[in-house]
């Protein structure tokens, strides 16, 4: 027993020495990196052998299974404990009811009840909410703990990897508070647009998006290559990029190799199947005809008719003959189409998208490399398979340390995007018209007489010529780092990005028959002439930046870091196109094989900027943080005298948890920092030559010979004082680490003012003869907040889980506007919240007793306010909407449509997305992992006078099943008014305001990782397979057919995807 004890003590002593050595090592590092000392006291270990205790053994590993040496194992409530050896193993004698506290820097501290277990496999989870994290910031990196600005970082494995997305933007929706990513439609290859913190400027403005320091189109970046995405939200963090960055910066960092690591190969692939997210339900043909007939009569058209056809005859034909998909019957010389078509099914099919990527990375002592190649094929949902997007990409990165003081590196990337679409008259609008608006009786077949396909049918998807657009993006970057002496580092980067674009736009000519005419009187639609337009685009972007950084710590407590830098950018884009009409053959579209008119045009744009900048960081004892940035930008977009702008910013941070008076909160509060920042930036987002009054040209409304000659028109006036818009941002933030850093909280509150937006200044008298010149005359204010919560924990070594919530809001208000002296509601005015919906308040529906008399002698009952302004000077009928007389003047109207006299208009709501959120849930049990990502908008109002908002939108449009509760003399308590396709009942009003809020299950994923041993047996490092789905479920108050992300845009639908993927490392 004694011998055993001695042996144990020896063992313990040995391990302890070893552990302590590591701890000491860490202690030094910690000092250097600035981790607080309390953690170290926490880790101080006293070793005592306790006789009556049990001996437990264990191994501490990270999530990958790598052993963690030097992890501290403490018995809770005591100072007894041990630490792990180099293999991560430990042995400890503990009381039976002991609770172990296992901790290691950068990992979530874990508590484990010993119970009667003797062998432990402890998996520590990397603490990504940990403030130890290093964050990419402008021209460098910084520890998150030392940040004083508003910065969010998204790591690829959390949000981007293993999602069946075709664009990086799709993966970034909802993942960072304040980052708004949206798309207008689901066309293959359609890009996502980015915004930070809401409305930027009345002139637009988007964040600066840099990929490894060079401005790039994020839609061309393959998601597999992305390591992290950092969002710089406030002026303090973005000001280092100056005038290009006045509305924030998105820094996309691609993956790199690691030093001294053997080659790692990774292969990943995803195959997904897609369908439209939501489609409306149309009523059956007979209902459509009956209700259409009522609507025709109610709108004052011939009673008993619909679409110029006799309703009863039509319905009888359906009952007697039944639906005939490709035709109809002719009665009394009138053709009655008898379809029962599902246009959406006719036009679409489940589409397949696949993505494959292979990469190799690694490094020696002095050199690292990363190489990757990928391919993505995204088929659209049209049945003709002419809608496609493919992306091929190659990326190579190498960095090498040539001497102690000199390193060089280079990146070469190439991406080719290739998009195809069938030519469709009026593009997506036409598709929408066919798929969504056409009633079910519409036909899809071939006309018997002419042999031409029916018009306004899915045929155009097949008949349209194949149009293509190819974009080649080449990016070359060279880097050099020079370290002349300790603490001083010079970084130089030169990048060239070249884009060539080739567009092939072929308008082919085909005939379509017009179904209502019917056989015999077929009206053929044929677009004439056919034509081909080819556009070539070349775009070149050069950017050079040099920074020098000097870091110095004085008297151990004062750390300074000073950076000085210089940057310049030159952009040029030129494009030209040539078009020729009357192609000899639509099968061989070529400019060479055409006989008609020829057109050419070109366009050249150039701009450049020069900037100098500096940044000073100072911290005292890693407790009081200070940062100041100054940047001076010059841009070619402004006249000589107003070319330069100065962007200063400053920010401070205070890590309160470091203060001794906070010692009492140690048990639950690990980290507490408050910070504040203010900065001002110029915004160069105006046209490249907006300050020059250039003459415009056009084709005269006059024929000379047989052409319309070109004419030249004078340019408008340009203000002498035309200059930069200023963007001022104030930001306050709090970072918290709670419950042993398992819960991380970040909150921001901000105000961003865009000052001196270029708009028409004070309106000038019309005799000026042109619009008042643009002046820096309007201001906009955005107020908002952001909250992000992250919880990570493991319940046992087999089960870990995490929850992340992002929640944010912003609201933009016009704070100055000169161009609207009369307060027109149709224009901006001071105090206007962007997105305001002005409309009428609905009282109820008119009932029979409200109307006196009939026909043209009818009138409103005496106590009812006059509605004639909204009913085109007519008297409403029972079942029409009764609008409220808000100002009590006895009539409902819009006054002068101004703020002073809005009549009975009022603000009904706001159409912008408010209270946006993203929720991430993840769990891991043994080899399985599951994650759910939800995204949504908590408040949004929507008004539509179009289809789906009413029972009948237009006289020839389909009626949808969700709108059947309409007013009739028998159904007086209806929600919708009587059937009438005229606009009188559809004025913007409170009753038919739609709720645009939603919660969408953006991504659901279930993964399985093969056991390490098994993977090793088959010669692989790790193998993971997973099934996943995008946009699978939607909770929304909107009727079927309206996707809350694209709303009523008549466009290509968004898709939901189901996918299977694998990820193999070897």
């Amino acid at each position: 027993m004694l011998a055993n004890l001695q042996k144990s003590v020896r063992h313990i002593a040995r391990y302890l020495t070893y552990g302590l050595a590591i701890q000491m090592l860490m202690f030094q590092t910690t000092l250097a990196t600035g981790i607080n000392e309390k953690k170290l006291t926490f880790n101080k270990i006293t070793s005592t052998a306790v006789a009556e205790d049990i001996t437990i053994k264990g191994k501490v590993t990270d999530e990958e299974g790598n052993p963690i040496p030097g992890a501290a194992i403490l018995i809770k409530g005591t100072s007894k404990g041990t630490s792990t050896d180099i293999d991560g193993d430990f042995t400890l004698e503990v009381p039976e009811d002991a609770v172990l506290v296992v901790s290691f820097l950068g990992f979530v501290t874990q508590e484990i009840e010993v119970g009667n277990q003797a062998n432990f496999e402890i998996v520590l989870i990397e603490d990504s909410s940990q403030l130890e994290e290093v964050v990419v910031v402008g021209y460098g990196t910084q520890k998150k703990i030392n940040l004083t600005g508003a910065v969010s970082q998204v790591n690829a494995e959390e949000a981007i990897d293993e999602r069946p997305v075709t664009s990086l933007g799709q993966a970034l929706q909802g993942v960072a508070p304040g980052l708004n990513v949206s798309t207008g439609n689901g066309t293959p290859g359609s890009g996502y647009s980015y915004n930070i913190r809401g409305t930027t400027s009345l002139n637009g403005g988007s964040p600066l998006i840099l990929v490894d320091g060079t401005e790039q189109d994020p839609n061309l970046v393959p998601p597999e290559d992305v390591a992290s995405v950092t969002v710089l939200k406030d002026a303090a963090s973005a000001a280092i990029y100056g005038a290009r960055a006045s509305f924030g910066v998105i820094l996309i960092t691609t993956k790199s190799g690691e030093k001294s690591e053997g080659p790692t190969f990774n292969y990943s692939s995803i195959v997904s199947w897609s369908d439209p997210t939501t489609t409306p339900e149309k009523v059956d043909p007979i209902t459509q005809i009956r209700l259409g007939g009522i609507s025709w009569e109610n709108a004052g058209r011939t009673p008993g008719f619909y679409w110029g056809r006799n309703v009863d005859t039509w319905v009888d034909l359906y009952n007697e003959v039944g639906p005939i998909l490709d035709g109809g019957r002719t009665v009394d010389g009138v053709f009655y189409p008898l379809g029962n078509t599902n246009m959406i099914e006719e036009m679409t099919e489940t589409s397949v998208t696949s993505r494959h990527n292979i990469s190799a990375s690694g490094g020696s002592e002095n050199t690292t490399y990363y190489l990757s190649a990928g391919i993505m094929n995204n088929n659209g949902i049209l049945r003709s398979d002419k809608d496609k997007y493919s992306r091929k990409n190659i990326l190579g990165k190498i960095d090498t340390k040539v001497t102690d003081w000199f390193s060089i590196g280079a990146t070469i990337g190439f991406t080719r995007g290739f998009q195809t679409m069938p030519w469709i008259p009026n593009n997506e609008n036409y598709m929408y018209d066919v798929a969504i608006l056409r009633p079910k009786f519409w036909l899809t077949g071939i006309d018997e007489v002419s042999g031409a396909p029916w018009g306004f049918s899915p045929q155009m998807v097949d008949l349209g010529a194949l149009n293509t657009d190819q974009v080649d993006n080449t990016n070359i970057q060279g880097r050099v780092t020079i370290k002349p002496f300790t603490g001083f580092e010079i970084n130089g980067t030169y990048s060239v990005r070249a884009i060539t674009g080739n567009n092939f736009y072929h308008v082919n000519s085909y005939e379509q028959a017009n179904p209502p005419s019917g056989p015999g009187v077929t009206f053929l639609y044929r677009n004439n002439p056919n034509s081909l337009r080819r556009t070539a685009r070349y775009n070149d972007f050069n950017n050079l930046s040099v920074t020098g950084t000097y870091t110095k710590t004085l008297a151990n407590d004062h750390t300074f870091k000073l950076m000085l830098g210089y940057a310049q950018e030159v952009f040029s884009e030129s494009s030209f196109w040539a078009q020729r009409d009357n192609l000899i053959s639509d099968n061989i579209p070529s400019l060479n094989l055409a006989t008609g008119n020829q057109f050419v045009d070109d366009n050249v744009t150039e701009w450049s900027t020069i900037s100098g900048f500096s940044r000073l960081n100072y911290n005292y004892k890693e407790k009081y943080l200070f940062e100041a940035v100054a940047r001076y930008d010059g841009a070619s977009r402004f006249p000589m005298d107003d070319r330069f702008v100065y962007s200063p910013s400053a920010s401070v941070g205070w890590i309160i948890s470091e203060e001794s008076f906070m010692a009492g909160t140690d048990r639950w509060l690990d980290f507490f920092k408050i910070r504040a920042s203010y900065g001002s930036q110029g915004n160069q987002n105006v046209g490249a030559y907006a300050y020059l009054p250039s003459m415009s040209t056009g084709n005269a409304n006059w024929i000379v010979g047989s052409v319309r000659p070109l004419f030249v028109r004078p340019g408008g006036l340009v203000s002498d004082s035309f200059t930069w818009e200023k963007v001022n941002t104030t930001n306050f933030g709090v970072d918290l680490g709670i419950f042993r850093n398992r819960l991380g909280v970040t909150a921001e509150i901000f105000q961003r003012e865009t000052i001196g937006m270029l708009t028409s200044a004070e309106e000038l008298p019309a005799v000026l003869g042109t619009s008042a010149p643009m002046e820096n005359a309007a201001n906009l204010k955005v107020n908002g907040w952001e909250l992000s919560l992250n919880w990570r924990d493991n319940l046992s070594s087999d089960f870990s889980y995490n929850v992340g919530v992002n929640f944010w809001d912003d609201l933009a208000t016009i704070s100055k506007f000169g161009g609207n002296p009369t307060g027109q509601l149709s224009n901006y005015y001071v105090g206007r919240e962007l997105g305001e919906i002005w409309g009428y308040e609905t009282d109820r529906l008119f009932q029979a007793e409200d109307i006196v008399g009939t026909g043209s002698n009818r009138d409103l009952a005496t106590d009812i306010p006059d509605q004639s302004a909204l009913f085109n000077n007519q008297t409403p009928f029972p079942g029409d909407v009764k609008y409220k007389d808000l100002n009590g003047d006895g009539k409902v109207d819009f006054g002068t449509n101004t703020l002073d006299d809005p009549g009975d208009l009022k603000i009904l709501g706001n159409s912008r997305s408010r209270y946006q959120f993203g929720i991430r849930l993840g769990a891991k049990y043994k080899s399985f992992d599951i994650s759910v990502f939800m995204q949504g908008v908590a408040k949004r109002d929507l008004f539509t006078s179009g289809p789906m908002g009413y029972t009948i939108g237009g006289q020839y449009e389909s009626i949808y099943t969700h709108t059947l509760d309409y007013w009739t003399p028998e159904n007086t308590d209806a929600f919708y008014p009587r059937l009438d396709d005229r606009p009188y009942n559809r004025r913007t009003q409170s009753r038919y305001l739609l709720d645009g809020s939603y919660l969408r299950f953006k991504n659901v994923r279930l993964g399985y990782t093969l056991s390490k041993n098994f993977a090793k047996k088959i010669g692989l490092k790790s193998v993971k397979i997973y099934v996943t789905g995008e946009n699978l479920f939607l909770l929304s108050g909107l009727p079927a057919g309206i996707d809350p992300e694209v709303l009523l845009n008549a466009t290509y639908p968004l898709r939901k995807d189901f996918a299977i993927g694998t990820n193999i490392t070897f």
């Binding site: 050079l544 024929i703 019309a766």
Partner: protein, 593 residues
Amino acid sequence: MKSTYRNIAIAICFIALYSCEDNFLEKIPKDQITIEGYFNQDSDFRAYAYGLYNTFFGYGVGNVGNTNIPVTTDEMVGGNQDRSSRIFDTRIIPSSGGGWSWSRLRTINIMIREAQNTDLAPEIKNHWEGVGRLFRALEYFNKVKSFGDVPWIDHELGTESPELYMAQDPRSLVMENVLADLNFAVENIRENDGANLIDRYTALAIKSEITLFEGTFRKYHTELGLTDFNSWLEESVLASEKIMESGLFSLNPDYRTIHSSLDLSGNPEIILYKQYEIGVLVNTQVRTTALSNARSLTKDAVESYLSSDGLPFGISPLHSKAQNGIPESVFEEFENRDPRMGMTLAIPFNEGEPSPNDPALIEANTQIKPDFLPSLLGEAGINSATGYGLYKWWNPESPYDDVNGITDAPLYSFNKILLNYAEAKAELGQANDEVLNRSINLLRGRVGMHNLTIAIANSFDDPKKQKYAPEISNILWEIRRERRVELMGEGSRFDDILRWKKASYFGKPFVGAYIDLDNRPPSAYNPDGSNKAAVTLGDRDGNILPSTSRQGYILPYLERQPSWSDDDLKLYYSPISVQDLTINPNLQQVPGW
């Protein structure tokens, strides 16, 4: 370490060299022009002037039909949409807009300035200054027509110009300046500047029109206190005579050609026309006038056509029923009339299947009848709200769908010059048989109509004249009738009524053809015997008859028959918007508003 510093030095030099490139931030547009240095030669001015040719509206462009021509007058009613028009007194003072727009004037003033400053030969310089000033005269004429007094601005303004906030100048000053512009144009514009471009005769035609308008306007609008109208009328006579005596123009033998030709080049009657070509510039004139009910003539217009014996309808013994106050059917009233009536209105004799050369048309595209009112005459005829459809523009060879109408539009034509001449002469008290033979009788002779003499004009008392214009002479009444008949449906009636100060004409009852519901063609009925569409009938004065009535006049409008007195100034002008009055407080709202 030494080499380190050397390398740094090299790097810094490299950067310095790269960035110190001259004018790194100077980027000049490479595909745009600025005005400095633009006007260098004749063709530069020509290209600039083309931008002003859209002053000449013609038949509009594409399916933007003649929307800026007032449709509804005592001769024609527009569709339902036209009920918001001026004569129904539904106009309000707009909050913004409303035509107080001066961008074209700025463009013109820049052109005049550049022409005056150019170093080019005097002939070129004066020609383009003349063209600019002709456009300025037209621009101001249109503004004066709308607003009466307007500010006179003859140069480009800047944001600091005091003229921005000036009050209106009096009409007299503005129109004196217009006359000066016109006279400069007439004297300096080239006699011929190429096919169908502005030349001296265009300027003369415009002068003839503007001066007649101003002369008669001043004469009848006595509230203006402008008594010098005779000099304006004399200017008009002079301008017309120069055209008449040039020998370059004559009436084309066929009255209909100038309105229904696909190509007006070489037509001797045309001074300036707007050309239309498929795929280049198209209009919807044929569709709008013939195939839609948005242009329908009134009973009053039909009654203004003389009988073929030269006597007014109602007096002529050729129409005994009308003479005795008995309504004639549409079939009867077309007989023995001024031949221009049959060349202007759809003759209702043709029933049954339409044929290409027949004014009996249907909506060939859809076969759907409009649901506003039936196309009454034979149900397969030209569409009309009154029963009187327009045939004047119909040309079976002109595609009449929305996108391919290519009928050329006459802008200034010789027949109008003759009418201007005759009217100005009559207003000056100089009308005689010689004047009539040089003008009115040429027009009448072309269609084979009875000649007009002073004696004939004085030989009868037209009851309509007694009722509507007792204050003018018989010969002036007949010359005005000639103008109405010759230009029927073209839209000039509205301006004529304004300058004659005859707002009361807009109070004439809007009635259409007389029909007998018991005697309608079979195609007017549904298979079950019911009427295809209901028609509201009224009496000749526009009063609605009981719904049981089977005979009566078609009423195209059921409510709000307008009522105007000649002294209602509101009708003659358009209001200035609230916004314009707010921005420039020195502006006065126009009379009547």
